[in-house]
């Protein structure tokens, strides 16, 4: 149903985050002829065998599943690049490395549907998983360093990671803000919205879906 995910868990469900990532452009090589497609989302040109073309991810996956094309994996999804990124992420005290905003979703969709198009697929997949682990760990550590800031800058964090951290970060930052401004907070409490508060304040790590 095009409706509501439970707002107390996280604003966007993982499926919705994936939905947003599916508009990213990727390169494919069609193996058949097809007329241009005039979608609401845009026009995608003639499909000619062996001529690479850029299409949104959802379209690419649909074509791939019907055996009509092969993927050209994006530049960042190579063993060399990922090894480099992983090394850099593992440095103590390092910042987050630059990765595409939707790297988790793109990688996941490619692994599920286009394994044969990625050279050294198993290596690449384990690298991406390791990178995810290291970054999540770093995120958790960073969360412990929030102080009374009113804005927290997060460089190079990806969409899925933001979505995971959002509920906890929100409540933590709100708590800090409230305690920093005691007079304003007392005022706000009498007019605050009557939403039931959750009993448990601990951040819940969502189970990883396999």
């Amino acid at each position: 149903m095009a409706g509501q995910t439970d707002p107390h868990v996280s604003l966007f469900s993982p499926e919705e985050v994936e939905f947003m990532a599916e508009d990213e452009l990727v390169e494919i090589v069609p193996n058949m002829n097809m007329e241009p497609l005039n979608f609401i989302a845009g026009d995608f040109g003639r499909f000619i065998p062996q001529i690479p073309i850029q299409v949104p991810l959802w379209l690419a996956v649909a074509l791939k599943r019907r055996g009509k094309c092969t993927f050209r994996p994006p530049g960042w999804l190579s063993v060399d690049n990922l090894t480099q990124v992983l090394e850099a992420e593992r440095e103590p005290q390092s910042k987050f490395q630059a990765l595409p905003f939707s790297y988790v979703e793109i990688a996941r969709l490619l692994f599920d549907h286009a394994r044969d198009d990625i050279p050294d697929m198993y290596m690449v997949r384990s690298l991406v998983e390791d990178i995810r682990d290291v970054r999540l760990h770093k995120l958790e550590n960073n969360l412990g360093t929030f102080l009374g800031t009113s804005a927290v800058k997060m460089e190079n964090v990806s969409a899925m990671e933001v979505n995971l951290v959002r509920p906890f970060a929100r409540r933590a930052l709100e708590a800090f803000y409230k305690h920093d401004k005691p007079e304003a907070a007392a005022d706000r409490n009498t007019r605050s919205s009557r939403q039931p508060r959750e009993a448990n304040d601990e951040p819940r790590r969502p189970l990883r879906q396999r």
Binding site: D23, I40, L59, R188, S193
Partner: protein, 219 residues
């Protein structure tokens, strides 16, 4: 069909390359992440509805003419995606109206953010709810406490009306380079430089203006 947006501001790049689907996605995302109801994107919704109807007719025509089922199914997918965005956008707004029923009818400004149908919905909801409260509880309370909106006659403000929590922290990304005042007027004027593509967790109140003018996006 890709059509360009007609926002007044925005740089040339976004004017020429933003399709309606992109705009709808942005509106949907912002609406989901914001704690209050944002102004209604009437034009966008109308255009989207028009395009959806057009594509639905086309698909019927294709099926009759025996066009390659693959092509038909691809058009159907695109249609489904756009329909999802539109429906979810409207549903998120309805949910917020239900949550903040009395608040959205209180002031001109709040009411102006709703579409005509949403206003009708909000009024009916508010009337029904008020009636329900009165009949089940309020009539039986002592005279001074019988109002739906105020705790008692001596309250100066409508303190029984839940208000959107504007101090919630939201994740947002800036689309262009500008400086943002981190505090409200009258407090310290600490500013922050926002470069294109920077991601921040900030209080909603501070970025409200930037979001409405299109300089930032909620994530």
């Amino acid at each position: 069909m890709a059509s360009s947006s007609d926002m007044g501001s925005a740089d040339f790049e976004s004017l020429s390359s933003t399709s309606d689907v992109e705009l709808l996605k942005r509106a949907w995302r912002n609406e989901k992440a914001a704690p209050e109801i944002l102004p209604y994107e009437g034009d966008l919704v109308e255009r989207a509805k028009g395009q959806i109807e057009l594509v639905e007719e086309n698909i019927e025509a294709y099926v009759e003419n025996g066009i390659d089922p693959l092509v038909v199914s691809l058009y159907q997918m695109d249609l489904d995606r756009t329909q999802f965005l539109l429906r979810s956008y409207l549903r998120v707004r309805l949910l917020k109206i239900e949550k903040f029923m009395f608040h959205s009818l209180k002031s001109e400004e709040a009411e102006s953010r709703l579409s005509e149908q949403e206003k009708v919905f909000a009024r009916r909801c508010a009337d029904d709810l008020a009636k329900h409260f009165e009949e089940s509880v309020l009539r039986k309370l002592p005279e001074n406490y019988q109002s739906v909106l105020k705790q008692s006659l001596i309250s100066e403000v409508d303190d029984m009306v839940p208000e959107p929590h504007l101090d919630t922290f939201v994740a947002c990304r800036s689309k262009s380079h500008f400086t943002l005042n981190l505090y409200e007027e009258g407090e310290s004027t600490q500013t922050e430089e926002m470069y294109r593509g920077d991601l921040y967790f900030i209080r909603y109140k501070i970025v409200k203006g930037a979001i409405e003018s299109g300089k930032m996006d909620l994530i």
